[in-house]
Amino acid sequence: MSRIEIDGKSVDVPPNINLIEAARAAGIEIPHYCYHPGLSVAGSCRMCQLEVEQNGRKALVIGCATTAAEGMKISTTAERVLKQRQMVLEFLLQNHPLDCPICDDAGECELQNYYMKYGLHDSRVELAEKYRKHKVIDLGPTVVLDSERCVLCSRCVRFLQEITGTGELGIFGQGMDSELLTIPSVRLDNPYSGCVVDLCPVGALTDKDFRFKRRVWYLKKVPSVCQACSRGCNIEIYYDIRHPYKGPGRRIQRLKPRYNHFVNEWWICDRGRYSYHAVDAPDRLTTVQTRSSNGDSAPNIKRVLQEAARAIKNAKEKHGTKSIAVLGSANSSNEDLYVLHRLFTQHLGVHHFDVSLKSEPSGEEDEILRKADLAPNRRGALEIGLRPAASGKFSGDNIIRAALAHEIYVLIVVRHDLSLVLRPEDFNRLGNLDHLLYLGEHESPMVGIAHGVIPIAAWAERDGSYTNFQGRVQRTTQAFPPLGQARPEWEVWRLLGAEVGLTIKAKTAEEVFAELTKNVAAFRGLTWESLIPSGRMLAGVPEPPYRKVRTARPLE
């Protein structure tokens, strides 16, 4: 620790941190464009200039490239510091097209923010004198560049060199002709390309998915966890439900990464970034359906669950608990899986249950973030006990085989679309079971053959907790209510429990989680609050070592 003084305020700072971070620790913001804590230091925007007094000598230095040292006296308000900030802003803005009214970044643009805080100068440049550069450059499948808005901070260039190692972008030309562009004949097309938009401090790089969709000041955000793979990257959901007439039905406008030291640092992959489209997809299931209700105007969930309960009771009496099987989902939250487990294995004594199928799709895995296992909560399911551990119990694939061999009479399926793993004639035979209850988010062939269908809430429509591959339990937050009759999965199991004689007192996800921590050893000691903001490791699982997200060989 060394003691430094920032604007008269004494602070102790850890070794080897720069003045921007030191000031941040003291609660003082130092404006900057090119500096980003996840990237190497470029030192080129010159916005973070500070006056530093050391050994009796005062000097103007850049905060990003100056390491805090014992006894430094830093002024962020010295006259020449303020003058420099204003001049840097004036330099950056002199050729800026000032097209804020049509710029997606307006409202979260550091040119706007810093101008209001540190600039407030009148322009000395006539509009006709402005230096023109290229606009609307299609860089790749996800990103569009407007060179006139670019401040040439090189954050994106460094990200692509240092994190993904793909190096698609470079700054070409010199002096006033400097321009960000892709390397000739190369497209900005890698699994993390969307991150360059997050990194861009201005509106130069915009996301094709978000361009011209919403002004950012209409957006609200909640912290959440990405559901696209088992890493569980921390994200923020940006949504707008006040303007349903814009982009019909689209509530989530975008996902942005949220910093988590141990999971994803500042980044998320494109697959995760654009995974939210499923939440507002037109094929969402919104109504409860039963096979016996064909033509019936309004089936309700109670009736569907009563039918299912009757079938479960019948099967249990006639053929024993071995005739009932549950194929849950590793996409369900810890709460869902806990109530499922409580109801079927502890209360009903159901023999066969699993959450996994061998043929589940897997994703690409890399050393940066992406994991091959695409289910966000397989670890949670295992810890809660949803695994075919003991002998004589069927795995997911065997459950299906047994159902086709008439050994299973009642089958409950969550989310899985079995038409993808079965031949059509076999798949249709599943409809001949005594009862097939299906819980899903989306329209699928399962709806056609199930006896009862209950729509469940998407992850953004409910609170929940998920356990990632490391054993870190993290929380998602409800952004908006579920569509139609959809409801969280655990609520369905709670209602079904009521039909078969199991009373579950918990009425909210938080209460379910509290019960879970009492009854499942791996979750002991965790509290709902402690999961915010960055999650907690399961009991007895050591915190993984902090691994700086980097490609195998960083470029020098």
Partner: protein, 401 residues
Amino acid sequence: MHRLSVARQHGAYEMLQKALTMEPAQVVELVKASGLRGHGGAGFSASLKWSFVPKDKFPRYVIVNADESEPGTFKDRLILERDPHALLEGALICAWAVQAEAIYIYIRGEYFYPTKIVNQAIEEARANGLLGERILGSDFTCNAHTHPGAGMYICGEETGLIESLEGKKGQPRFKPPYYPAAIGLWQVPTIVNNVETLAAVPWVFRLGPEEFAALGTPKNGGTCLFSLSGCVNNPGVYELPMGFPLDGLIHNLGGGILENRKLKAVIPGGSSSPILTAKEARGIRLDFESVAAAGSMLGSAAVMVVDETISIPRLLLWVLRFYAHESCGQCTQCREGTGWMLRLCKQLLEGKGKSRDLDDLYEIADAVDGTTICAFGPAVAWPTKSYLKKFRHEFEALVRE
């Protein structure tokens, strides 16, 4: 002289032989005693630079900065073309002093002919055991390579040069921490010296440090190559002792001003040095301290003579055009500021200038001065500020409103 056989007749590589019998630290001490200063522009003590190399970091490199591109400077070319073996010998002595394993000679891209000559000299030296393994029978192994630049002014800045040599865009690195002597080429200790500096090293050994130092002034050892250009009758390169009178250079050696016109101003150290009015320039001596005391800098010792027929605003336009084109574009102030200043200066000369423009020009130059990664900012700010300050009436005459 550029042929090894001729150069050896004049004693080339004898001093290398002598240096190789000395300890590297002794070599540094000897150069220190001579007071040899860098002739690239900053005038930094050569031996001090050599002594900054961290003790335990290897490999090490020596880079010869032959990217001579400061407007008005044309002295290194002469050494490259006429006496490349003096350069090689000096570079090898330097390499021995810092225990470097390779010498890179970074030559500006436009110097096709000098590059050819230097390559030829390297081949000859290698064939005669003066380069490569076990030089002159000692344990010392060192190679030399030339590398042509691609025509960028900023690659003459030592860290920009290193970036360029590494195959990247020539953009200077910020200091700290990238002081080349500690973190240079490929992140290892690197000594970057100007051609003239290294070519003077054999003379330090030949004359002995005391006699070499005595050629110049107490703080400026030896001689200096002055590139005299502009409105004089005999422009050219003059090797003169440090501290030689400016008047003598212009009026005696330079043969006076063209057509006996009146001297208006002198730019004493290349286009980036502040201008001196005829009055300020009178009687000054050409060494680093005296020129600095007069309010300018000796820089690369490119003396440009400006007579009464030259318009200072036009001169500024010429300077700004160069710097706006050559800014690497990394730092905000320099990238945007040079272009902006050029635009204002152009408008002035086109008769569209406003009175506010002069203050703006000065304010912009001030914002670029000393606030950027490298010395390019000051290099454009100093001429601009000094022209405006010392010849403001000429600018004001152009303002219409």
